[in-house]
Amino acid sequence: MKILVFVKRVAAAQEEELKIIKDGEDIDLSKLPFKMNDWDSYAIEEAIRIVEKAGGQVAAISIGDRESDDVLRRSIAMGAKEGFLLNRDKPIIDPVLRAKLAFNFIKGENVNFDVIFTGVQAEDDQFGVFGGYLAALLGLPYASMVVRIEDLGEGYMVVRRELEGGLIERIKVSTPCILSIQTGINEPRYVSIMGIRKASQVERKVYEASLYMEGLFSGIELLKWSYPPKKEGAKLLPGDMDAACKELLNILREKGVYQ
């Protein structure tokens, strides 16, 4: 089985403060570390587990600038056989444009596959559009929020989807197909610096994205950034730990949950 996995390099902003600069034109990411999108590392791991069990190979594809080579090397270190970079310096904001680019690349280069995995969404833009849009362009069946792949049959897969409130849906999807993988489906393997160094020896092919973007345009336009509107917000307890703890315990007593 051949599995293509789309991986994205994103700013690790989860625990960091984000600064909007240039009057809302940009977000300052210059001081942030970058990493593989969380969802994508689960997708790569799931693909690798499948080929380890059923045979085949995994190819990682990233759309981004040269720095995105990071996430390709990581994918290879995890067990992907090859990596492709669709190189473009300027970030592509519109996920529809990324899906159309991917479509043109797959068709133009005759990339063959049995299954395509993507993460459910990217940590940065939270669009969750790429996989489903690409599936429709390719005329393939699609399922999102996949939390388990139960069965790999001849020409089909049985997968579980996560719904709200802990409910799970079981569905049968014929292959080839596109699945968007949810976090928590597995435990992505650890890769050492040594492993990544070794992966560097595997060639990553670079394609110029612009060659596959002729005649494509964005359907949405990003005008500016702002911070979410502030509400009254929390009453801050003192910064000193001793004092903060005492006040915290007072609040717990007041609310009657601690004597």
Binding site: E16, P95, A136, Y142
Partner: protein, 312 residues
């Protein structure tokens, strides 16, 4: 007048509350609400809609994105292009919307939490609600949009007018994807929805090795330990302890959130708690907008100090 094509968010014969956000959004767009509904009896108020379009599909077939593309195609044949196809940013909407947009090769914008009708600007969260992107959608045939639950229900009109019922049938049903069944969550050891006092830990916990000390803190305070998604994803705590849209919705007397930045999916599961206390090292973390009390600082240090005092 142009219309908005609403894809009803339904599951197991329930017409979800978040459908009101579709209605509210429709009224901000200034278009007539036409709603697509599968076979079955749903508790809806017909006066909310201009048209109720009954689709000859069972609920699970209706929720299949491959079928929905054909349903929308049929609706367009009957009523012309809508102004927008509008869905919920839910497990169904998030799956159906991009597929339908891709089928018609039209623009899409997801998880919209605000809209300015005058300037036609859509607001969408980035980086777990730390910043908002302001978007314009290019003019074209139509576009697809998913809206964030709770964001627009206040704008929903109580009474729209005389409703018209229409039925459409879909001949092309997909064989490439089929529904097999539902699985309910297994019986649980601890029910976090019943607890009065929850200590909830998030990504900031950093490592599995830190968990036992939080368990000890919870036991010293007679609290129950819960978590946000990153912690249960890594299986540091069982899934049944997860607070948020894909986990549990909780309303304890006190919710002490430690190392949780406050992504919307988490907030939606705990915002109705009586008293929310947040501990986070990032003073700009969205959780502080929802908390009654906040401590800006290191969660581990706070934990250790509390343990010291309580054991003292």
């Amino acid at each position: 007048m142009s219309y908005g094509l609403l894809v009803a968010d339904v599951r197991r014969n329930v017409f979800e509350e978040r459908n009101f956000d579709l209605l509210g959004f429709c009224s901000l767009l200034g278009v007539d609400p036409y709603i697509l509904l599968p076979e079955g009896d749903y508790a809806i108020n017909p006066s909310h809609f201009k048209k109720i379009i009954k689709v000859g599909l069972q609920e699970e077939e209706f929720l299949n994105p491959l079928n929905m593309a054909h349903v929308v195609e049929r609706a367009i044949q009957e009523f012309g292009n809508p102004y927008a196809v509008i869905l919920s940013s839910s497990s169904s909407g998030m799956e159906i919307a991009p597929y339908v947009a891709g089928y018609f090769k039209v623009p899409i914008i997801t998880d919209v939490s605000n809209y300015d009708g005058e300037s036609k600007i859509f607001y969408k969260s980035y980086y777990s609600d730390k910043v908002l992107g302001h978007f314009k959608v290019e003019d074209g045939n139509f576009f697809v949009v998913t809206v964030r639950s709770g964001s627009f229900k206040a704008q929903a009109k109580e009474k729209y007018g005389d409703v018209e019922y229409v039925t459409i049938n879909v001949e092309k049903k997909t064989e490439k994807r089929s529904f097999l069944g539902y699985i309910e969550e297994e019986r649980q050891e601890v029910d976090i929805t019943k607890a009065d006092f929850l200590i909830s830990i998030g990504r900031g916990v950093g490592s599995k090795d830190e968990i036992p000390a939080y368990e000890e803190l919870a036991s010293l305070l007679k609290a129950t330990l819960s978590a946000s998604r990153p912690v249960t994803d890594k299986q540091w705590l069982p899934k049944e302890r997860q607070v948020g849209t894909s986990g549990k919705t909780v309303k304890p007397k006190v919710y002490l959130a430690m190392g949780i930045s406050g992504a919307f999916q988490h907030i939606a599961g705990m915002r109705d708690s009586e008293c929310i206390i947040a501990v986070n090292k990032d003073p700009e973390a969205p959780i502080f907008q929802y908390a009654h009390y906040g401590i800006v600082g290191d969660m581990h240090k706070l934990r250790d100090k509390l343990r010291e005092i309580l054991k003292g």
